[in-house]
């Protein structure tokens, strides 16, 4: 009996050790799958399939239900067929957790070969630690790399270099439900729309039994924050960060929060704006219960898929106040493709990574990602078959006189979170705007 038990234990232990050992096996085979550099395709023209394929690890934000997921998959497939390389796609939906995961991957040495990521301060941790390759360095070997892009529109890092090849950009502006406006006898706002007109329209809409502004102050007050800050300053100084609550920029932010409170006190937000989710308020707008919604270019895809009739909606202008005109909006190109140092230093992957980015940012492929968004393409994008809402956005964008990036992107995650979670305290009078701004600045 004792021998049998000992034998069983020994066999179990051998199985356990084997199980542990097997996890290593694929890793040992991995290098064989990666092709030598000499056989990798040229950068600018994805060449015929190489003798041995390279597996590129790619991380983008085109995951989940992203509106461009299908276009990204089509582009990846085209790359794989053209080069014979494989793409290990680790894409996910962009949010604060995804950003943190990407940064963690860089910290732990498990970064991808190609990364599609934000080009603002969010990228500084891996740029400053030399984990990505500058466009200048890539062009030294591949002179035609990203030459279809306007250099002036490529993001410049704190060291003065450019690292990311920009993809499509974004805009933020005011969506309107034309049916609700028509029921209330209110005209669709034009590029000369003023704050006073807007307040009068909101009152008319409220009196007619509709909610003037679809917005969850609990979840997404930031679109309104951007425009209210710009309304109390100018497009030129929009990206200034207050040094203190008492300086000129601090006063601008305080005035923006006061405007928030005025709109809330007037009852222009939904009754449950402090407890509703963004999805609830957007649906309220979609169902014809609210008139105005500030959102971004990405929301056009949502309405394209969910609106009963796209002709009921239009992209208009956020009312202007003070020195800001309604034709000035928030927008820019916030994301681009980085090639990591790890891939660049790997002779097997260097050319494959360059070819991948070149294909994904080519005029033809980028045009499939774009409907109304801005791009850095020298020749411009050529989107085809715009639906009524996309056409409305294109028409509005044609009248935009100036854009500024989102100032919230310059705040740390902690300061940003603190500021936006305190907006509900400001509108309910539990906190003064001055205290809310000071609290956020203390964490920045």
């Amino acid at each position: 009996m004792k021998r049998i038990l000992a034998l069983i234990l020994a066999v179990l232990m051998v199985f356990a050790l084997c199980a542990c050992g097997q996890a290593q096996a694929p890793a040992a085979e991995a290098p064989a799958a990666e092709a030598p550099a000499a056989e990798a395709p040229a950068a600018e023209e994805p060449a015929a399939p190489a003798a041995e394929s390279v597996t590129l690890n790619v991380v983008t934000s085109y995951g989940g239900d992203d509106g461009n997921r299908a276009n990204f998959e089509a582009a990846v497939k085209a790359y794989e067929e053209a080069t014979g390389n494989k793409v290990n796609d680790g894409s996910a939906t962009s949010n604060e957790e995804w950003k943190a995961k990407v940064l963690t991957d860089f910290e732990t040495g498990s970064e991808p070969d190609v990364l599609f990521y934000f080009t603002n301060a969010d990228a500084e941790p891996f740029i400053s630690s030399g984990k990505v390759v500058s466009i200048e360095e890539i062009r030294a070997e591949y002179p035609d790399y990203a030459t279809n892009m306007k250099d002036s529109m490529m993001a410049v890092a704190s060291d003065g270099k450019q690292y990311a090849v920009p993809s499509s950009g974004y805009w933020e502006n005011m969506f309107v439900n034309k049916k609700v406006l028509e029921d209330c006898g209110v005209a669709v706002p034009g590029p000369d729309y003023t704050w006073d007109q807007f307040l009068a329209d909101c009152q008319t809409i409220k009196d007619a039994g509709y909610t003037p502004i679809a917005c969850s102050l609990f979840e997404v007050p930031h679109y309104w924050f951007e425009f209210l800050v710009m309304n109390n300053g100018t497009v030129e100084n929009h990206l200034d960060i207050p040094a203190s609550v008492d300086d000129e920029t601090g006063a601008k932010w305080v005035a923006a929060l006061n405007d928030f409170k005025a709109l809330y006190d007037a009852g222009f937000f939904p009754e449950n704006t402090l407890t509703a989710s963004d999805a609830e308020t957007v649906e309220m707008f979609n169902q014809g219960e609210a008139a105005f919604l500030i959102d971004g270019s990405w929301k056009v895809g949502y309405f394209t898929g969910n609106a009963a009739d796209l002709n009921d909606f239009a992209i208009a202008y956020v009312p202007g106040k003070g020195e800001r005109s309604a034709s000035e909006a928030i927008g820019g190109i916030s994301m681009g493709y980085f090639i990591t140092r790890k891939a660049w230093d790997d002779p097997a992957k260097r050319a494959a990574a360059v070819a991948f980015v070149s294909l994904l940012t080519s005029d033809e492929v980028l045009s499939t990602f774009v409907t109304t968004e801005v791009t850095a393409l020298v020749n411009g994008a050529k989107p085809a078959g715009l639906n009524p809402l996309q056409q409305s956005a294109a028409d509005t964008n044609a009248n935009i006189t100036a854009i500024a990036g989102a100032v919230q992107d310059l705040l740390t995650a902690e300061a940003r979170g603190d500021l936006f979670s305190n907006i509900q305290n400001v509108v309910t009078g539990k906190m003064t705007p001055e205290d809310a701004v000071a609290s956020a600045l203390a964490l920045n």
Binding site: M1, K2, L5, A6, L9, M13, A16, E96, E97, A100, K101, L103, T104, D105, F106, E107, T108, P125, D183, D207, A208, G209, Y210, F218, E219, E271, N272, L274, T275, A276, S277, E280, M284, E289, T412, A413, E414, G417, D418, S421, Q424, N425, T428, K430
Partner: protein, 308 residues
């Protein structure tokens, strides 16, 4: 023969070591590192510490001065209290009732246990729909019963003043009710198992002595269930400290107006949304300390009787 195989302890130790090493790597080391992190300045997940805080115990000062932490503590203590009263209480009543019936007992056991096997995320989404502001199940029911005010505007549009189940007046009920409902079945099964272990001879003897149903429950069932109930209470208290998923799905970051925090949701928000990793670590330490202290207190207060 059987006693002989345990004389050599080496094989047993060999098989205990991997589990110990696993725990050391994935529990003890992270826990110690977490305590160290509370004294450091860490600006994001995965980022290296930028040195010690100034003063090094800064996060602990903040812990006791942070108004939202006080809210989280208050709500968590309310949750613990409700857990004891409602989760274990309702489970006990249901178990006694089910134990008293002959037909359908198995059916009710399955039905009451069912919520446990559904993920908290799915339950959160379901209760979100039930308590939805516009057109939610409860609000539609209230509207059909004429319990909600309505108004007709000059243009003929009918306005319904829906009840906001997540506002300051209602959020505690809306948050705690699904949590209570979800875990009643868990304690129900434990108590039913305890009831099954009570010898039917005792009830027969009591019946012969003329004891009615209430007296049999009062003088036989409850005293003999004491140890089981003690276990349930300790599990309920420590479990309540860890509640996170269902309230997070339903209320997110502190809804309404930063009054809906629990220790678990506040820790998550600070760590993953605000990227304040060191402060999140400090809240985690507090949760562990609370868990140890409260489970010790409950163990002493509800000490199992050695006579049973």
């Amino acid at each position: 023969m059987n006693s002989m195989i345990y004389k050599k302890k080496t094989p047993l130790l060999l098989f205990l070591v991997p589990a110990f090493l696993f725990l050391a790597a994935f529990l003890f080391y992270p826990f110690v590192q977490n305590i160290i992190n509370t004294f450091m300045k860490i600006g994001g997940l995965g980022r290296a510490a930028e040195g010690l805080n100034t003063p090094w115990y800064e996060n602990y000062i903040r812990l006791f001065t942070d108004p939202y932490m006080r809210v989280a503590m208050k709500n968590t203590l309310v949750l613990i209290l409700c857990t004891i009263v409602f989760q274990v209480g309702i489970a006990l009543i249901l178990a006694l009732l089910v134990d008293g019936i002959r037909v359908g007992a198995q059916f009710f056991r399955t039905v009451y246990f069912f919520p446990i096997v559904i993920s908290a995320t799915a339950l959160g989404l379901m209760f979100n729909l039930i308590f939805l502001y516009k057109g939610g199940m409860v609000n539609q029911l209230l509207l059909s019963l004429g319990q909600l005010e309505t108004d007709v505007r000059p243009n003929g549009k009918v306005i319904v003043y829906w009840l906001d189940w997540k506002d300051q007046a209602h959020f505690l009920f809306t948050m705690l009710m699904p949590v209570m409902w979800q875990y009643v079945g868990f304690y129900f099964v434990i108590i039913v198992t305890g009831l099954n272990n009570i010898s039917p001879d005792l009830f027969e003897a009591a019946a012969l002595d003329g004891a009615d149903g209430w007296n049999r429950t009062r003088y036989i069932t409850l005293p003999l269930l004491r140890n089981v109930l003690c276990t349930c209470l300790v599990l309920a208290i420590t479990g309540a400290l860890k509640v996170f998923d269902l309230p997070w799905v339903m209320f997110g970051a502190g809804m309404p107006e930063n009054q809906g925090w629990l220790t678990g949701t506040y820790m998550y928000d600070q760590t993953f949304n605000k990227m304040n990793v060191d402060y999140g670590s400090t809240i985690a330490v507090l949760i562990v300390v609370l868990g140890v202290v409260l489970s010790n207190i409950s163990n002493r207060v509800f000490k199992p009787s050695e006579d049973l």
